[in-house]
Amino acid sequence: MKVFESYSQGIKRATIEIKMVFLLWLINILFAVGIYPQFSNYLNKTISRSIAAENFIKYFDLHTFFELLIHQGDKFSAIISFTGLLIIGYILASVFLNGGILFTLIHPKKANQKRRLAPVFFQGGGKFFGRFLRLVIYSLVLWIGIGIVMLIIHLILSPITKGSTNESLMLGLFLVRGAIALFLVFLVKMILDYTRIKIVIQDTRKVFLSMWQAVGFVFRKLGSTLALYYLYVLTAFAIFILYWWAQKAVKTHSLLPILIAFVIGQIFILSRGWLRIGLQAAQMKFFQAAKTKTSPIE
């Protein structure tokens, strides 16, 4: 199956599964709800009675923000620590969500059949949680691999910049390193995506083996898998530009525009969920098509 076909099928599937998009958004916002009252209480207590805070309505007044951190920073630090806990919680939730998304995707709605999302989604999440959690641990091998590659790149590139005063060269090499790192991170994420897809489709418990087979699959079809992945990255980037432009257009100087900007933000979060499902669906289609043709990873 061609890459573009998989891409468009993924987009279509994500649009059909709009309830699942909302479910992802709902889970995201549930975690955010954990943090909003903390920020809100803190800021209401510290700045809402002070005229000094009024600048925040017009722009991000670094001076007042520093004043806030210096005089009331302890409470802010506590919130940031709490945020760390929520992030750990979300990572675990995300492991669950991966199972839910993929399980739902292999149980599509059939014509004229009413399918309730929640039972399928949560069944899938629960069923694959243990396997996907193991995958998170096994994936350390790949992440360490990235670390080693980056270290080698550092050892190769650092003699070029050592003692150099050429700032363009330094920035250029910094960007090169960043681009390589990002490429490798995306590559590993892609490998993990295909591992999960394989685990769900074949309902296998051989997580580590699946991961290595996914590595093989990705490298055998490197051009196509990358092309598909980066089509979604580009789509995400385009949506981000649109979001950034929309946020910039809203002058958040009073209550209503502030709320409008927040709603636009929520639409962006929704779009992220939509893309996540789209990518998973597209990769699943691509994987199934490839398997049908060549049985490449058994």
Binding site: N28, I29, A32, I35, Y36, F39, S40, L43, N44, T46, I47, S48, R49, S50, I51, A52, A53, N55, F56, I57, Y59, F60, D61, L62, H63, T64, F66, E67, L68, I70, H71, Q72, T83, L86, I87, Y90, I91, S94, L97, N98, V136, G163, S164, T165, E167, S168, L171, K189, L192, T252, S254, L255, I258, L259, A261, F262, G265, I269, R272, G273
Partner: protein, 645 residues
């Protein structure tokens, strides 16, 4: 005949007077020949120093600064105090720096080398060799001069704490044996400390620098001679009077740009010399504009820039330890090509370091003992210049919707770190280098801004101008600045200077309480009779409120306060309070409630450590908190979307 005789005598006296006036009466006169050995990173030098005893007692010994010895080993006072790190840069332990005085003798007289001895007047650290003493064979009487021939070798460290080399870049500061200051019958010659800068007498410098011909050179003063040598080197001669130090720089990668600067009022004519590392040429317009701004601002506000040259040195990125430092008629700025226009670090550093030419270069403050006289006054001037040219509240960072002014930037340093020491503390006796910076730069500058608001901008401008004009080319002390301020303002200001410069206390006032309580009708027993509220009373009848505002003095220090009280109907009351008690209550009985109360409504007291508590609204305005809370929440949500493994 008698008239002719008297006239002739008068003419003779005038001529003698003129002759005396043209005779060199500087305290120090340095004639130095130096050769840079670029491979060895060594400067081989011969110095003829003529020193005048301006005291009123004979001097039997001379003391010299040998600053480079601070980098000789890890046990020097500098290295012990700094832990080998200065402004975030570390000394490369394999590239030590030092200065060896191989010979010192009186010109045409006895050799003083055997009497050379290292002393440690500040901390008795036997491993510190940054101050040297030599004994004179005979005490030098007041008004007499002594000329010395000194032969020395200076080994530069890899760029660290302002000076040194990096690759083919050389920044050569504090590199020659430099005599201390004889004052009040004693030598003022401190060791080189991690937190201290310098102090020296004004004089004349004539320095010949010999180095490979491909090097572009810049130095204190004016280049008066250039000789091409047969061995592939060049010798440049620089000359400058009325300065107390000489620094120079050399690098083949400098691009030299020269631009004249003229100003009509006051008349200024000087040449701006930019030595910009070729990797930073993108910054040249920013450097030019900010140096012009500095020249204009300081000339118009304090006094005309008097020297024929001003040299801006832009060190390469890997030698930023040399950046942001001042020397007479030469300073180092710093920046990166990738600093966006709204990040005004190159502008701030340029204006700041140029400004030192006034408060360190011309007003010869003792930076060892009273660093604020240079750093604080200069930071005050810098804030004013930055705000003037780049806009208040956004002069430091103006990137989209993120902004901060130079004052706000300085306040962040003062707020957190200035409470352990008074501003007037000897540099090496501060609790930490952070406390040193927060006090002598930020707090001193903000204290002066507060004084300006108290005295009025025009009066303060006159104070600063008078202080500069009176003390240029001299050595003022803090008390001299205070005296000028009192004299010009006509006010007794001991209460101000004693509190803010001599104690570590903090200034913090807050609106502690604000409330409006309806005054109810009488209810209860009054004069033996029960009174009930009038239930038939017209509900639309005007109510009366007891409006109460309580202001607290939370800090140790006091300052007269103005309080703005605003009611719901827009009515405004201004109150004043001497600020001395711990709290003050203001009460108003009115048919309207309070809207808000604010201390220091015109922001006249930037020294107040906490501006957030300076105002209080009766009904909270939740919009800023909502905007920030939603913003932070949204960022958090966006972060979560990236976290799927």
């Amino acid at each position: 005949m008698k008239k002719i005789l008297i006239f002739s005598i008068l003419v003779l006296l005038v001529l003698v007077g003129m002759g005396l006036a043209s005779t060199n009466h500087y305290i120090v006169d340095y004639r130095i020949q130096a050769k840079l050995l670029t491979e060895e990173k060594i400067i081989s030098g011969e110095e003829i120093l003529t020193w005048l005893n301006t005291g009123d007692i004979p001097v039997s010994e001379l003391q010299f600064h040998l600053y480079l010895n601070a980098f000789k080993n890890n046990r020097s006072t500098f290295m012990k105090e700094s832990g080998g790190s200065h402004r975030g840069f570390s000394l490369d332990k394999d590239r030590w720096g030092y200065i060896d005085v191989t010979s010192i003798k009186i010109q045409g007289g006895p050799d003083l080398t055997p009497s050379m001895e290292y002393i440690q007047p500040d901390d008795q650290n036997p491993d510190d060799q940054t101050v040297m003493r030599v004994s004179l064979p005979e005490p030098l009487p007041p008004g007499e001069t002594v000329s010395l021939e000194i032969i020395f070798q200076s080994k530069l460290p890899q760029v660290f704490a302002r000076s040194g080399y990096k690759g083919n870049f050389f920044m050569v500061g504090q590199w020659f044996p430099k005599i201390g200051v004889w004052e009040n019958g004693a030598w003022n010659c401190h060791q080189y400390h991690s937190n201290s800068e310098f102090y020296a007498d004004f004089g004349v410098f004539e320095v010949e620098l010999t180095l490979p011909e491909d090097f572009v050179v810049g130095a204190t003063g004016k280049q008066v001679k250039e000789v091409e040598n047969s061995d592939g080197t060049m010798t440049y001669t620089y000359y400058q009077e009325k300065v107390h130090d000489f620094a120079w720089t050399a690098c083949p990668d400098f691009v030299e740009i020269r631009k004249p600067f003229t100003l009509d009022n006051p008349p200024v004519q000087t040449e701006m010399i930019f030595l910009i590392h070729r990797s930073h040429l993108k910054l040249k317009e920013r450097y030019k504009e900010s140096l012009c701004n500095g020249l204009e601002f300081y000339s118009q506000n304090y006094g005309a820039y008097p020297y024929e040259t001003i040299t801006l040195v832009d060190p390469p990125l890997n030698a930023l330890g040399a950046g942001g430092m001042e020397y007479p008629t030469l300073f180092t700025s710093m920046g990166s090509c990738f600093f966006p226009e709204g990040l005004r670090m190159p502008e701030m550093v340029t204006i700041h370091e140029f400004g030192h030419g006034y408060w360190y270069g011309m007003v010869g403050s003792n930076e060892f003992e009273e660093a604020w006289l240079d750093e604080g006054i200069n930071s005050y001037s810098e804030i004013k210049a930055m705000d003037h040219y780049y806009g208040e509240g956004r002069s430091m960072i103006d990137l989209g919707s993120v902004k901060i002014g130079d004052l706000g930037y300085q306040r962040t340093s003062m707020m957190g770190l200035s409470k352990r020491d008074p501003i007037m503390t000897k540099s090496w006796k501060f609790y930490s280098s952070a406390s040193y910076s927060a006090n002598v730069y930020a707090k001193a500058a903000i204290t002066l801004l507060t004084l300006e608001k108290y005295l009025g901008e025009n009066v303060m401008a006159q104070v600063m101008k008078t202080y500069f004009q009176r003390w240029k080319f001299k050595h003022p002390r803090s008390e001299d600045f205070f005296a000028v301020a009192e004299e010009v303002s006509g006010q007794e200001l001991d209460w101000f200077f004693n509190q803010f410069f001599k104690t570590p206390g903090q200034l913090d006032y807050s609106i502690g309480r604000i409330r409006s309580v309806e005054i109810k009708d009488p209810h209860g027993i009054f004069k033996g009779e029960l009174m009930e509220p009038d239930k038939k009373k017209d509900k639309t009848e005007e109510k009366t409120y007891k409006n109460e505002v309580v202001v607290f003095r939370k800090g140790d220090l006091f300052f007269p306060q103005e309080i703005q009280i605003v009611f719901e109907n827009g009515e405004e009351i201004r109150e004043t309070w001497d600020g001395q008690e711990r709290w003050k209550r203001f009460e108003y009985f009115k048919p309207v409630k309070l809207k808000m109360a604010r201390i220091d409504p015109e922001n006249k007291i930037p020294l107040d450590i906490n501006l957030m508590n300076n105002s209080r609204l009766l009904k909270p305005n939740k919009t800023p908190a909502l905007k920030l809370s939603l913003g932070f929440t949204l960022y958090f949500q966006e972060l979560l979307t990236l976290l799927s493994f």
